[in-house]
Amino acid sequence: MSDAPRALPETIDATVELLSQGDYVADRSLATVAFLSLRMGRPIFLEGEAGVGKTEIAKVLAHSLGRKLVRLQCYEGLDTASAVYEWNYARQMLEIRLAEAAGETDREKLARGIFTEEFLIRRPLLQALESHNGAAPVLLIDELDRTDEPFEAYLLEVLSDYQITIPEIGTIKAAEPPIVVITSNRTREIHDALKRRCLYHWVDYPSAERELEILARKAPGAPERLTREIVGFIQALRKMDLFKVPGVAETIDWTKALSELDVIALDPETVNNTLGVILKYQDDIAKMQGSEAARILRQVQAEAAALG
């Protein structure tokens, strides 16, 4: 985490540059959405298959803008106690006993003393309303599709006013709204009302060229021939009828794994042995193993040779 918060980018080009400083190779469309979101103070809503780098954007934004990253990982049954705030019951109980021992009898005073910020446990949404080093944090609401509808409705309220009401204390409002990034894997449709408040972007798999660039940054030690073949192979896989095609995260993992194994170029046997790194369903692996993988590999290598 870098120290001093930096100013928001002034142009789209500056946004591309900003993301690239954080080793994020964004295409122009994504940079445009990110730029608009920063300037307009609107949340970005990112949808896309798993492993295309949705979560990464929030991390990179936080890092290169020098902001604190507050992450709210969603799951089914996420409620206000774990997303917004909770009282520290044990400490409150102790406080009461101490007050009693000291002979305190005024109930009103006791209650006032107990429901103060001191006993408040701040969960991500509440943390996101506070500035750090004089700048609003980046709030990452990850995999929103995993929560249920009631939470989505609650979020709607928080995101429109950037304030949270705690009955015992009052309303806490953000001095400066946080930068909000929401991601979804589309395991469930998110309600239109929430999307309307956000800038929407579908994050797609990268082109071969961009994927090469990503590998050059994320797995810098890998031999060039190997990365070319890997990207060619992965791009070919994405065109196939698989249950789950590999994402960018898998490409990076595979490159790192193969570099660890000191592989310089792909061969059918290595591919067969390491398919588990890129394919995560048994059906898909069974489909690819053996002749099919070899066929694609031949094709990729022939194309590479043709290019010189």
């Binding site: 979101s37 409620d79 009282w87 009461i96 109930r107 599709d145 469930r188 999307k195 059906d283």
Partner: protein, 427 residues
């Protein structure tokens, strides 16, 4: 994947103001563009129009693709809207001046509400006429005795209708069956969620509330408050066969799907013949006629062949992870007669079965007493269903209730039937 965009068309391109937004003129163009999008079917509100103007002011107009993605960020809210947006953008910004003129001329005609009016009006008129006619019929004409006779007739009539096969119904009976279906309510057993709510006899202690009530007594009397898991319906996913062999039933099933969709939340409906179509959004229209009309427009493969394996594969690949989460119950409505003779069907059924909480197969063929699982499609489906029910009349739809209220265990009833049939074939 930047879109394939033609170069800015000279003076007509958005850059004509030399990089600045140029005030009112430009805002006007964006407004026209937003209207064009709305006419094309995107849900564009006035708030988005203002957003768009602001966004373009912020992003500037130096590059055409920036301009494209800026508007894209504002107007597109779902992935499937991208295509529409893309086309509208290409057409509109090629020469906004020309289009502006066109739009001002065409606007009243293009506007979707007005476009739809004639058909809707006709329908509304027909309905009003029907309603009026019925009101006249309902008026008591004779004495009380006559009325009683009439009522008893209705009851027996109703019973007969309950047991009558959809296939044998007359048009008038079908109409009445449809009405009966619309009144149908399906109790779907509820399941525990991970969310808690206060409950007097809950099994868990609710610390937050206990503590607050303790404070009322100054901390002396500790009264434990409890909470329990909230229960709710699991999502219901309906996959309905609309091929030729199912024709009579599938139309009734659409009415059924409409009734269920409007009765509860989290119902996802698909129809399939040679391809798969998601019709959930259309079914959410309260008005059944309008809903059916929209479905009719969207679905291309009415009464054609069936490719169960291929369409299920499509469902598994593109939809199952989106609609089968949170313990969904699947209703598969098909006679299992497959054009591809069960090719690849078993594998897809297995996957479907593994991804849902419970799989119920409704099959109209089951009404025949001597039903034997002979067709290869049926044999491929059977091992992977939990419940196996006939669906050919109102009564059988009513029986669904029992099947849906029992979510406790997987029964794998289909496997049993298969085993029986095998044993019989051996002897």
């Amino acid at each position: 994947m930047s879109p394939d965009m033609p170069p800015a068309a000279g003076a007509g391109g958005p850059e004509r103001d030399g990089g600045s937004t140029g005030g009112g003129r430009f805002a006007e163009n964006i407004m026209y563009f937003a209207r064009a999008l709305r006419a094309a079917g995107l849900p564009v509100g006035p708030g988005q129009m203002l957003d768009a103007i602001r966004a373009v002011e912020i992003a500037g107009l130096r590059r055409r693709d920036d301009f494209y993605w800026t508007l894209h960020a504002i107007f597109v809210k779902r992935r499937d809207q991208k295509e529409l947006f893309d086309q509208a953008f290409q057409i509109f910004w090629r020469n906004p001046e020309l289009l502006e003129k066109m739009m001002s001329l065409l606007m009243p005609v293009v506007h979707p509400d007005i476009e739809e009016t004639p058909a809707e009006k006709k329908k509304a008129m027909r309905r009003v006429a029907e309603a009026l006619a019925r009101a006249q019929e309902d008026q008591p004409v004779g004495e009380k005795k006559e009325l009683e006779v009439d009522m008893s007739l209705t009851v027996s009539d109703e019973e007969r209708l309950q047991a009558k096969d959809f296939e044998d119904m007359t048009a008038e009976e079908l109409e009445r069956a449809r009405k009966a279906i619309q009144r149908m309510r399906l109790p779907l057993a509820d399941i525990k969620t991970r969310r808690f709510a206060p409950q007097a006899h809950g099994r868990r202690v609710d610390m937050r509330r206990s503590f607050r009530s303790t404070l009322k007594s100054g901390g002396d009397i500790v009264k434990l408050e409890h909470r329990a898991r909230v229960r709710r319906h699991p999502p219901l996913v309906i996959l309905c066969d609309i091929s030729g062999s199912m024709e009579r039933y599938s139309r009734m099933m659409l009415h059924f799907m409409h009734a269920v969709t409007n009765d509860r939340d989290r119902v996802h409906s698909f129809v399939f013949g040679t391809r798969l179509t998601n019709i959930s959004r259309h079914l959410r229209h309260r008005d059944i006629d309008l809903a059916l009309e929209r479905i009719g427009d969207q679905v291309q493969d009415w009464s054609g062949g069936t490719r169960i394996g291929a369409t299920l594969a499509e469902f598994n690949q593109y939809w199952s992870r989106r609609v089968l989460g949170q313990g969904a119950v699947v209703l598969l409505i098909t006679d299992g007669l497959d054009r591809d003779a069960g090719e690849g069907l078993e594998k897809e059924m297995e996957r479907l079965h593994k991804s849902c909480r419970r799989l119920i197969w409704l099959n109209p063929l089951l009404r025949y007493d001597g039903f034997k699982p002979r067709a290869r499609g049926i044999r491929a489906i059977l091992p992977h269903v939990d419940e196996f029910l006939p669906v050919h009349n109102l009564q059988s739809l009513g029986d669904l209730t029992a099947a849906l209220s029992d979510l406790g265990r997987r029964r794998n009833a289909g496997a049993g039937i298969m085993a029986e049939a095998e044993a019989e074939a051996q002897t």
